[in-house]
Subunit: 464 residues, 2 copies
């Protein structure tokens, strides 16, 4: 092996996680999965790469952002782009599963422009909960909105869930005069209204071949949002829209949803936003996106950190994806939480709470030895004592030196609440010292109290 | 999107994990990380792929098994092959870290021949604990062997740790007459002694250019194993070996190690095995491998399931890897647990313990509604009650149907300990029924006891 001169970095759009950052991320995972489990969720884990053909044609324009594995002889594979298509593949492969609530937390991969400070990376975590199976209309959809509410209640974050319906959106486009074959591509232009101005969205639509008139009509329709009941009234009162069968089917779904959200007591968390489109091709019914701040008009650009993070969860109904694999269709609806963005929002407050160093060891006891001139360091004795503590499940360390200096050991113990201090004479008398660290104390002078060597585990346990 | 005719499968050597299998795997992860935390371990997470050049030349003959990402314009990357090289890369990049105990659990990727029944896959988990930094000789190495012992104590598995030393092995080869440039390749042949017979290993050595005489001399040296002290005696008494400077340096290390293992009370778990070589190039000192059954002579082939699984953890000291990235060297030693193999061993006993179905929902309460002919199903009321339970952290479900039949609901509640049963008249009187399921009871006739609607969460909590 030769010395390497390669530049040391993680690949573009990826990062390392260490210590307390990672523990905070795991705490977020646990908070979210506890909610999933309460709802009867079952965990699933799928491989990080899938057979390329299984993923292709599922993501519309975004497919170009997929990472492909090199052809090394064998199957052609790509890294997973989301957790939804792998779930659909799993359902299609497992014919005995007709109904399931499944959850999955895993990394997904997109060759996008990264913006690390805002929590947008090429390798990032998704955290998904989906309900698959035939049920009465909108009942699973309502439960998913309830799961979203409970997750953010548990995380202590105030949110708004923006909803829309693919059939309402498609109906609006048809009524405005968009040709069928342009609907998905115009839809993805409209979806950018929360990031760029209406003028830029319109420009994109004209480039995609719409007339000025059709574009303006779309603008009039989609730049509307508000609470569900007001929006339903508005849509119902517009004869031209209401007579479109897609729009009216969507209105029926959302009316039913509104009654369920009322039963859950969460109707006020939801805003009906006609500009919400969601980029991915596979959605077929209700779609939703979760944002931090209270909803403002579409196209408005707030400068708060939360709004810069963008949507922190998103999902919808996709009834046709599983059937696309040539077997029985299974209707599904689900939500994906953007855990890295949630982490970006929660990190500042977690740092205020914690007084420990960014990479804390979280130890209970430091085992040290102190003696005079001819002192041999008592390494074997420190090892034996520490092993007893470990066996009892206590977090402990000692200095990995045969003859450590006393000051070195006190320095290494900073931040640890307790110390066991060994000395030659005390040990000979069957005793050790147990010391409780106090801030601002002259630590090296206070050598703790003498306790029996035999009962040290018990004495430490009393103090933890 | 068109219908896909692609064969539905996971890529070769990969699998899906679902439900209780996954929960068992997570339990194993938690058991292991609890031990790591006790020893002051700090978690690290690195990207699933690394810049290809950073990984190359670190794995010897095994490098050909790396998965490469396709060149899509940008950096050339490969999937990580283990967690050790990414840790070394992280250390080299983070100059302020001079001493750390880090742990990482993550999937790694090898284009090997899979053997799924034995827990050998192309995508599999490793679970690593490493100690980096300059300490007194063999102190970290001894702690790692102690971590291994504690992990398997916590998992309830009896093990043997086979150890050897790279310098002893290199010395043996030199004394036997192997040319320097053939040592790594002969080492990887010897490493196969636990899987194939001595005759096959010898054949491979002859093909690699050794003479019959040299091969036989190696065979005489490496087919020795036993407890540490006996083996040390044997090596010390062989003048030819003992006068080699690598062998004698190795003997000194292992003598020191033996005294530390005695202090930890774990010396009997360890067997000194001269045939142990470990395939990877980067090891430089003590190496070790953990097997399930008591050690038998090298080359023997037991047919027990545990021995078919092969080694369940392995590691060693690698003092030169970090320095290879052109910055300061940091000596390291670590252990990697083969969690998928441990899972394969623990799964049968976990199934005997569990009486639930392989994919259990682990619910606390099923919320149902029952009524007469004109009964409307009480969906909104079931939703409102379930939401109260969810809010209180109770795991609950209801049937996602507007008008479910009573039998359907009782079937769906199988395996759930409690039910809340709603009826039109009871609700009007501010009451619901709380039912405790008993096995073999005629469930549909026992409708539980009447309790107040207002106190239902409290009543359920009393029973959980």
């Amino acid at each position: 092996m030769s010395r390497s001169t390669v530049q040391l970095k993680t690949p573009k759009g990826t990062r390392d996680w260490v210590g307390d950052d990672l523990l905070l991320r795991e705490k977020i995972f646990k908070t979210i999965t506890d909610v999933f489990k309460r709802h009867g969720g079952i965990p699933l884990d799928t491989p990080v790469f899938e057979i390329k053909e299984i993923l292709s044609e599922k993501y519309g324009e975004d497919s170009r952002l997929m990472y492909d594995l090199e052809d090394q002889g064998g199957e052609l594979c790509s890294l997973r782009f989301d957790l939804t298509v792998p779930f659909a593949r799993w359902l299609a492969m497992n014919g005995h599963v007709t109904h399931i609530k499944r959850y999955q937390i895993a990394k997904v991969y997109r060759r996008d422009q990264p913006a690390i400070a805002r929590g947008r990376l090429r390798e990032f975590h998704q955290c998904d909960f989906d309900i698959a199976g035939v049920y009465d209309p909108m009942v699973p959809d309502a439960e998913i909105l309830c799961v979203i509410t409970e997750v953010f209640e548990a995380l202590g974050l105030g949110i708004t869930i923006k909803i829309n319906h693919r059939r309402i959106l498609d109906g609006l486009f048809a009524v405005a005069g968009v040709p069928d074959d342009k609907i998905r591509s115009i839809s993805s232009a409209v979806d950018k209204l929360d990031k760029i101005s209406w003028d830029d969205v319109k420009k994109e639509m004209l480039e995609k071949g719409l007339s000025d008139e059709v574009a303006d009509q779309i603008g009039e329709y989609v730049r509307r949002s508000g609470n569900i009941n007001d929006m339903l009234e508005m849509l119902k009162s517009n004869e031209k829209l209401n007579s479109n069968k897609d729009v009216s089917a969507g209105i029926e779904d959302i009316s039913l949803l509104a009654s369920y959200l009322k039963a859950f007591g969460i109707v006020d968390t939801v805003s009906f936003d006609c500009s919400l489109a969601r980029g991915l091709d596979y959605y077929s019914g209700l779609i939703f996106e979760v944002i931090m701040q209270a909803p403002s008009g579409p196209g408005s650009q707030s400068k708060s950190p939360a709004s810069q993070v963008g949507s922190i969860a998103a999902g919808g109904r996709y009834d046709n994806l599983v059937g696309m694999y040539g077997k029985r269709p299974i209707p599904c609806a689900g939500i994906s939480f953007g855990v890295d963005r949630i982490y970006t929002i929660l990190k500042p407050s977690s740092e205020k709470d914690s007084k420990t160093s960014p990479v804390s060891r979280n130890l209970d006891v430091y085992v040290m030895a102190i003696g005079g001139k001819d002192f041999d360091g008592l390494l074997l004795e420190r090892m034996a004592v520490t092993r007893e503590l470990w066996k009892a499940g206590i977090r402990a360390e000692y200095m990995a030196k045969a003859k450590p200096k006393s000051l070195q050991q006190f320095k290494a113990a900073i931040g640890v609440p307790l110390a066991i201090i060994l000395g030659q004479e005390e040990l000979a008398a069957g005793q050790v010292r147990l010391k409780v660290f106090r801030s601002n104390a002259d630590e090296e002078k206070d050598m703790g109290q003498l306790i029996s060597r035999e009962s040290l585990v018990e004495e430490v346990q009393k103090l933890l």
